[in-house]
């Protein structure tokens, strides 16, 4: 067992864990934050994407111990004070989800895209930047629309770095 402490959605947490615990297992099993999902074994689907120190990562491909001292944001930490993040709102408004399984990872990735590429995203950029997120339901059409609109809305709300 090994000790780990990190900040998860603004709360500091400390735990004694088996070193092989993945970040996603720590989030789901230890913190009981089940919004972060696991959809593959090969680090390709992006259902598990969270932010570590403001950057999008696949939480299935990091050890929890690698996040010692880090600031982790999951889908559950995106809305502040009961107000949805503009990207969450955009996914709802533009029907960017069906079964919802890929959605937390999609939204966390989308916020990261805006953080890196700004608020005016064209369709081509969005499609390329979503390379690491697989959705089986939507055909991506409405996800692309949602990300574009969410990016614009983030500028309006001054929430560029809200996810950190």
């Amino acid at each position: 067992m090994a000790a780990v402490s990190m900040t998860v959605n603004g709360h500091s947490v400390t735990a004694d864990i088996d070193p092989r615990t993945l970040l996603v297992q720590f989030i789901r099993d230890n913190q009981r934050l089940t919004g972060t999902h696991v959809g593959c074994d090969t680090s390709q689907c992006g259902a598990c994407v969270v932010h570590v120190d403001g950057k999008a990562v696949k939480s299935c491909t990091m050890l929890a111990l690698q996040c010692d001292g880090a600031n982790v944001t999951t889908i559950e930490g995106l809305a502040t004070g009961g107000v949805l993040h503009p990207m969450q709102e955009a996914f709802r408004e533009h029907h960017g989800l069906q079964c919802g399984f890929c959605t937390p990872g999609m939204i966390m990735s989308a916020v990261d895209i805006v953080n890196r590429k700004g608020n005016n995203l064209d369709e081509h950029t969005i499609r390329e930047e979503l390379e690491g997120n697989i959705c089986r339901c939507t055909g991506y059409h409405n996800i692309v629309k949602a990300v574009e609109a969410g990016a614009k809305a983030m500028a309006g709300s001054g929430m560029k770095h809200a996810a950190e």
């Binding site: 680090s43 992006g46 890196r116 930047e129 690491g132």
Partner: protein, 267 residues
């Protein structure tokens, strides 16, 4: 994943010490290759030495006519580095096209080069640009470093600390991604420095990255994609799998090489 003991050194020395003291110890860089392999129980190191806190292995600097990149520098950092973008734009573009944004936020140049996946991108750049792999023990020329699929000149306990890329006059990398994995089905890096032209091919060779002598000779005469017309890569010794047979890969090597030359000359 099998159980292991976790270590987090803060210097290269400490890391090297752990490697020599601990049985079946493995370095953990970005983990984008090692962790999926361990999850599938295909690797079972008893000790994992995380390089994440080794500050001296990070960063990018320009040293004369070379760009020196710390082994723990992520693909995203290389892609976004103004230094690399200015000095070797083809290298920044290559890094910006590895995997996806999440992988680029974690995966490192040192990990990629040490792993020498036959379908990885960086090995082609190292070989074409004549990079030097700097370890805690020595300096190794790229020509001597890559020794076959997942095989390198690294010795037991040796750690890549930096990679130095001499600035080419012109260079570009073109990748034809595997439709499923998005690794290189075929990737070709061309680099021209002075009168020397080097062409390195990744993804295609059954024993990993290799130099394509015929293309180098043709391009040395005139650095233009026209010079490659009629120069055909041989299918013998190339990979064949469900995504591409050897003949198709050989054809793609030609196409990617021509496109890389066009990109390098700014066409």
């Amino acid at each position: 994943m099998y159980a292991f003991t976790y270590h987090r050194p803060e210097t290269v020395r400490q890391a090297a010490g752990l490697l020599s003291r601990k049985d079946d110890a493995k370095l953990l860089a970005g983990g984008q290759t090692l962790l999926p392999t361990m999850k599938q129980r295909l690797a079972s190191p008893g000790n994992v030495v995380d390089l994440g806190k080794v500050a001296e292995m990070k960063g990018i600097e320009r040293k004369g006519r070379a760009v020196v990149i710390g082994a723990m520098t992520t693909h995203a950092e290389v892609a976004g580095s103004p230094v690399v973008q200015e000095a070797i734009p083809g290298l920044a573009a290559l890094a910006g096209n590895i995997g996806d944004p999440h992988v680029r936020n974690r995966g490192t140049i040192g990990g990629s080069v040490a792993n020498n996946d036959p379908a990885a991108d960086y090995p082609a750049a190292c070989l074409a640009m004549g990079a030097t792999i700097i370890t805690n023990k020595r300096k190794i020329a790229a020509d001597d470093f890559f020794q076959g699929m997942f095989d390198t000149a690294l010795e037991e306990g040796e750690i890549i600390t930096k990679i130095s890329f001499p600035m080419p006059g012109k260079a570009a990398y073109m990748k034809f991604p595997n439709p499923a994995s998005r690794y290189a089905l075929v990737g070709v890096c061309v680099a021209k420095r002075g009168s020397e032209v080097r062409v390195a091919v990744t993804g295609a060779g059954a024993s990993g990255v290799f130099r394509w002598a015929e293309a180098e000779a043709a391009l040395a005469k005139r650095f233009s994609s026209k010079s490659l017309e009629g120069v055909k890569a041989k299918a013998a010794g190339l990979n064949a799998d469900i995504h591409a047979d050897a003949e198709y890969r050989a054809h793609l090597i030609g196409v990617m090489a021509r496109r890389a030359v066009d990109a390098a000359v700014g066409k």
